[in-house]
């Protein structure tokens, strides 16, 4: 009880100051900041209609490279945290009871559609709301769906690793191409095309596709790792 009270006391102090500070920030007003520059320049410089994408992939592309790395590290770290040696004769079974037929059929129908949607979202990342991360996450949902409905559904880790690595390498090498061409890292070296075209924005589209693949494979891998290690047999260990 004392702890709770103390926590509430602390939080009310912190909350007071946060409210105090944020309420001094005017809400809903246009402010003079770098955002304006991006809105004005991204259709002109990069021919990218989605300013957010322009920022995420190009203006602040370095952040995104870091972001992708964070995801990659999370997947790797998860793997290392959850790692366990395979015992002999171990089955890959995840659960004893299969899920209901309705779910199985339903997911069979939904699976290709979700994949398709995900692909669409990351391919059109520079045109419409969405992008590599969102698309990748959607695709990962599809595999989650399959994992839930088909308990024996297997995900080939080898493939995931390949996709993940190649996508990452593509992202990084696109950056290096800029350097090799005597420009700066991650600089756009392709023609920008026309605004609102699918083939616009130079390397942004390619990067977002790579990011999409990478995120999709990583999220799938993460889900699979957690599921794989959370079986009743695994819990008996230690």
């Amino acid at each position: 009880m004392i702890k709770q009270f103390f926590v509430i006391l602390i939080l009310s102090i912190v909350g007071y100051f946060l409210v105090d500070a944020f309420f001094k920030v005017p809400f809903g007003e246009k402010r003079n900041n770098v955002g304006n520059y991006y809105i004005e320049k991204s259709p002109v410089d990069l021919k990218v209609s989605n300013a957010v994408t322009a920022i995420v992939v190009n203006y602040r592309g370095f952040d995104t490279l870091g972001e992708v790395t964070v995801l990659f590290l999370a997947a790797t770290g998860l793997g290392s945290i959850m790692y366990r040696r395979k015992q002999k004769g171990e089955k890959e079974a995840r659960a004893k009871n299969p899920s209901s037929r309705i779910i199985q059929i339903g997911s069979q129908i939904l699976f290709p559609m979700i994949i398709l949607l995900g692909g669409y979202v990351f391919i059109h990342g520079h045109l419409s709301p969405g992008g590599g991360f969102q698309g990748g996450a959607i695709i990962a949902t599809a595999s989650l769906l399959m994992l839930i409905s088909y308990r024996k559904f297997k995900i080939n880790h080898n493939t995931i690793t390949w996709i993940e690595s190649i996508a990452g390498v593509v992202f990084a090498s696109l950056g290096f191409v800029g350097l090799v061409l005597g420009r700066t890292f991650l600089e756009n070296f392709l023609p920008s095309g026309e605004l609102n075209d699918l083939l616009s924005g130079g390397i942004i589209g390619i990067i977002y596709i790579a990011v999409g693949f990478k995120v999709a494979s990583e999220l799938t891998g993460v889900i699979d790792t957690v599921l794989l290690n959370n079986r009743p047999e695994a819990q008996k260990e230690n």
């Binding site: 702890k3 103390f6 926590v7 602390i10 939080l11 102090i13 912190v14 100051f17």
Partner: protein
Amino acid sequence: MNSLILLLILVFGGALLSYLLNKFLPILRDGFVVLLMLLVNYVFFTMDSATQIEFEIGGIHLQWAFSSAAFLFGIIVSILGLLSITYSTAYMQGKDRLGYFYMNFLFSIGSMLGILMSRDLISLFFFWEIMTWSSYLIVIYSGKDVDKRGLKYIVFSAIGAYSMLMAIVIIYGFTGSFLLTDIFDSIFAIKASYQLAIAILLMIGFGVKSAMMPLHVWASGAYSGSPMSFTALFSGALSKMGVFGFSLVLFNLVSNQNWLINEIIAWLAAITAVLATFYAVIQSDAKKLLAYSSIAQLGYIVIGLASGTYLGVMAGLFLAVLHAVFKGTLFMAVGAVEKQAGTTDMTKVSGLIRKMPWTFTASLISIIALAGIPPLGGFVGKWMLYEALITSDHYYLVIMVFLSSTAAFLYSYRILFGLFLGQEEPEFAHVKEAPLPMLIPMLLLSGISVLSGTFPGFILEPIQNAMVSFGFDPRLPNIEWWQLSVLFNSWGDKVVLQNVMISITAVFLIALTLITWKGYKKQRYVTTKDISSSGEIIQAEDNMTFQIDFYKPFERAIWPLLKRKIDDYYTDFGNGLEALFDLVKRIYNGNGQFYAIYVMAFLALLLIAGTKYFGF
């Protein structure tokens, strides 16, 4: 090459080389270290006294040169270093990790030379710390109880060193320089309270090495626990670095207004001398006894320096040199006993005089010198000390010193009796005289003890040179060293050393001749069992050894003083601190959520404080 650099390279390089030699060519090791020290002595004594080097390192201006005071201590270090390392070659025979031992031994010697040649505080501290850890590594080299004494030594050394460092940086903060010459000029310009603080901090720093009350508790363990060959150097030379530091502080960094510091130091030293002597008296291990005795002797030295008069300072420095000589010998002799008889516990070993006559001779001479009995060197020092204290109106200090020196007779006798006299026990029948490399240094040093009693000139002259650098006027007559025989105090009273020597020698020789000549042939040696004991006839198996509780009556008389050791206060203090620290430890209670709460609480606190105090 500059001989200062050469000196350092020789010693430090030699240290590393001796480590390697021990690894790859152990046969050459002993010869190498002795030769190396010979070479060091050669370089040291042929050095031009004006040699000096200045350079800058890490943005700090450094200066090295041997002042005449430093040269005096340098003599002790280099000669005692040579002799003790010669002694080591035999003493350490058959022990393991000799490379380690010699390396640290030479590191100590080198760092001492470094301390002495430092004319700036940074190199002084630099070498001081090297000295600390190298000696620490030898202190914990062997023996039992390493845990406690090593810890004590390092804790006190660290306290000392860091107080010193604090003083150094305070000085730097005010004067903007580390060079001694700059500091001597500008030290008196800073605020008096800071001056006092600097002096006290430096005193703590140097007081630890010179084992002054109440910072002495490390000394007995460290002295008695190290190999005796090192202790000879440790007590003889290493502790003198503290004395050297004292001389710097007292004569250069303390203004005359601060006479109180001198008084306090002198009294502390006097109390040290008395208590340490009492402790020495009740010891039954010869090493421990000598260790406490060293503490007491260092007390005399400091009293002399702190008295601040010409004669007192001269006495202090003279005793410093002499203490190195005779205490070096005694530690070596005890080491020889340890090596040959296997123990220095005086309740076990006894009656070695006929087995180790030369060791006994050296010990006897050194003990006479230590006790300050004429006509040996110790007397000269003691005489000057007393006269200096009396003529400068420190009457009660005289009494303290006298009490300490009189009680010193007790342990002086104890160590001679305990080891060499008394019953000749059959279990020590096999004991042989120590080998030559151990004997030669002892005998050489005892020779110095004897010589300095009659011809103190050869020590007093370098001392006077040193004192001139402290700002005293030279008062010794301008004659050759062997002509110097009359010592004066400032009231004009004197002692004529050569008359004393002649008188004593003449009477002694005549009496000895007469008594030996009468019935010489009829006398025969009988064992110590052949004594008269109230008419009983003593059998071989009767235990007639009297060694345990040797000074029990005395102990009973002084018991109120010894009841509670200073050690105990430190132990209690330490225990209290540990309990407190364990309490602090509980902050990290293992619950991650608490840590998170700390974070948020800290944030809340800062937010409140930020608006209130930091003026946001």
